[in-house]
Point group: C2
């Protein structure tokens, strides 16, 4: 098994945290996104989508997309459970993970990619060229603000996002909120529950990655 | 159990097809998106995100997001398997489902919502007001074209998206391609494998919904 990572990128950080929480050891190969290594033929042959994280299995099968990779690792290493402990919890983890991706992660990502000079001509993930759209900078920021307010409300009555255990949903939210620093969007002072949760999950050893 | 549906909307169609493939009977309540029923207090109390599909369980728990709902139904009704039959297949279904959502479904959706008069001031899913951004119309269309070309390549050597069985990944792709008619984007003539697959999955009784 080989984990294609990029130590400075938020998306593969979701898998890094997941692996650290599981306490397992997975060989890692760094892909240098800054210098376009993900767009070169060698990596493109592994993952035609040119995205990290990716996980190559011993038979050569390559899995991409954080949720797919983490679900596979959960099947191999069920303890501690990070995808929910019952059918309903598993569905709730997927629900929150999808919500966080669609609102927060997508909002922060679009706000950053459509502004940063490093992403001129590469405003959409993947190998194709897309121009930046300046209106997506404030739109993405507003989506991220709404995500934070919604998550604060959820955390008012829940220690973690799904009930009383740390899950993949918390990982996706943590990575999103830390990435929001790239668009200079801190947790608003009014979001006290979100702040309490963020302090708590950031103190876990897995968050250091 | 109660399934909150909207018969004219593509997202809940994913769950409708899933339910039809399982051959199960789930009570349905239609939510009139056109007249804003999803934004009213009654539905908002069920799903604060104001999205359909949603599934209310007998204890009052409400699940939203297609993937979460379908994964829950798969756990209750494992046959026929629609989320993969092995750990690797399950991961591949999630990988393709995520790719199709991120490129095709999102591309078609953005191209449509940022153009249609019916979505003025509601260009982003949910209850908040967002202006339309005209540049997203061609960007979304281009993303959808790339999605079709990539899927055609995949289907050159696979009967279905993940190997030899119909899965959730096929459902998400079918709904995406049928929704592309809303932006007047047919399957390009060059995509012969995609056309063969689309004819085949469209002929399934579940596709009639």
């Amino acid at each position: 098994m080989l984990f294609y990572d990029c130590a400075t990128a938020p998306s593969p950080r979701r898998v890094r945290i997941f692996i650290a929480e599981k306490g397992i050891d997975v060989p890692v190969q760094q892909i240098d996104l800054r210098n376009g290594e993900h767009l070169q033929p060698e990596f493109r042959a592994k993952n035609p989508d040119c995205t990290v994280p990716a996980l190559e299995l011993d038979d050569g099968t390559v899995l991409a997309e954080s949720l797919a990779i983490c679900t596979y690792l959960e099947a191999l290493h069920p303890e501690p459970p990070l995808m929910g402990r019952t059918d309903v919890e598993r569905a709730q983890v997927l629900m929150w993970n999808a919500r966080i991706e669609r609102t927060g992660l997508s909002g922060v990502g679009e706000s950053f990619r459509n502004h940063s000079k490093g992403f001129i001509g590469r405003a959409v993930t993947g190998s194709e060229s897309f121009d930046q759209i300046p209106q997506l900078v404030p739109r993405g920021r507003r989506m991220a603000e709404l995500f934070m307010a919604n998550l604060d409300e959820r955390l008012a009555s829940n220690e973690f996002i799904v009930g009383d255990a740390f899950t993949m949903a918390d990982i996706t939210a943590l990575v999103t909120i830390d990435m929001a620093a790239w668009i200079k969007l801190p947790i608003p002072a009014a979001c006290e529950h979100l702040k309490r949760w963020h302090d708590s999950v950031s103190a876990r050893p897995s968050a250091r990655t």
